[in-house]
Assembly symmetry: C2
């Protein structure tokens, strides 16, 4: 693109480094900020810098937290013997929104992905193993996405923690509630049939 | 959404004030920045602040420019008697990319839109009228988008500048090159037939 200003070119370059934002969208966002009061750009910049430089992670579950131990890990109502392994804080938020989980989490901070240069040592796997060594964990629930990276990470973790005596489970995969069978992909439908459950368990409780 | 950190909530709030970005996308972008080196967030913030606080507009055509007069207005190759009226710098860039226009521009900085509280005085219309008063403009090309706001602005400008003796033209609307007739909307196809041109003019020159 042929920019009339070096400043706007630089801003577009920086904005378009964000995932899913191309040059055209970046230009639209930059022009939007130019039309709004300067205060909006200032508070956006300040919020981003504050997030990046001052965010802390919960020392127990590694989720993003403002306090040393997050509100979930410090709650007396949560069952610390059940640990749900998730990729990042978005998954924690998604599961929390269901209101159906009373255990705690362990946030890996990513998935093993040799293509992106992310190995086991870049994730919080050592902390998970330390947690397993205490012997207080009775169940580990794998809740990683079913991508190639997710499956690789699942299997790596499985081999690392299978001998600690905790039961290892994974969240159920199947046809989403409300979805029609005929439009489901075969893998999902196949798993859905293979892992069928007693009818009584599917009734609202 | 149920955020585990006030900092991330604030960042998501600020990012999602940008057009076309919802809370979920904002969270994805915030988490992306958290995973990258702090330098990326710093250069993004700096570029946005620099753009917002230090950008200047060309004193002749009002496009975004690093200099008092932009490279288009200061070029001796451009014909200053032809002025193309556009909404913002994106339209200047789009027309410049065609390489088929040798006149200059006049950037309005928006469109008249009572719904958004944008009136004629918020745009660079007075500067356009001053330009017309010099008598040096021989042709004005309207190149605003054909939305309700664009048409309103076109008509407002038409009434303001029609008596200055310049010829007033508008860019051609019709079926896009390569598009199929049967899929075109009626209004476009109708205009395409109504404003047909001599065949010889359509040949590559």
């Amino acid at each position: 693109m042929n920019f009339s200003s070096r400043k706007i070119e630089l801003a577009v370059e920086e904005i378009s480094r964000l995932p899913g934002i191309g040059k055209k969208t970046a230009l639209r966002l930059a022009l939007h900020l130019l039309r709004r009061p300067a205060g909006q750009t200032e508070s956006l910049s300040a919020a981003l810098l504050d997030l990046r430089n001052n965010t802390t992670f919960c020392s127990e579950c590694h989720t993003i937290s403002d306090t040393e131990i997050c509100s979930i890990c410090s709650s007396p109502k949560r069952d610390k013997s059940i640990v749900c392994i998730v990729e990042d804080v978005r998954d924690v938020m998604a599961i929390e929104n269901t209101g159906g989980y009373s255990g705690v989490y362990h946030v890996l901070g990513g998935l093993i992905s040799p293509m992106d240069g992310i190995g086991p040592s870049d994730l919080t796997i050592d902390a998970l193993i330390d947690k397993m060594k205490t012997g207080e964990v009775k169940e580990v629930v794998f809740a990683l996405n079913t991508t190639m990276e997710g499956d690789t990470t699942n299997f790596y973790l499985y081999r690392k923690i299978k001998d600690f005596g905790a039961s290892l489970t994974t969240i159920a995969r199947g046809i989403a509630v409300g979805d029609e069978l005929e439009f489901a992909d075969e893998v999902t439908l196949g798993r859905s049939i293979q892992h069928r459950i007693p009818y009584e368990q599917s009734l609202p409780q």
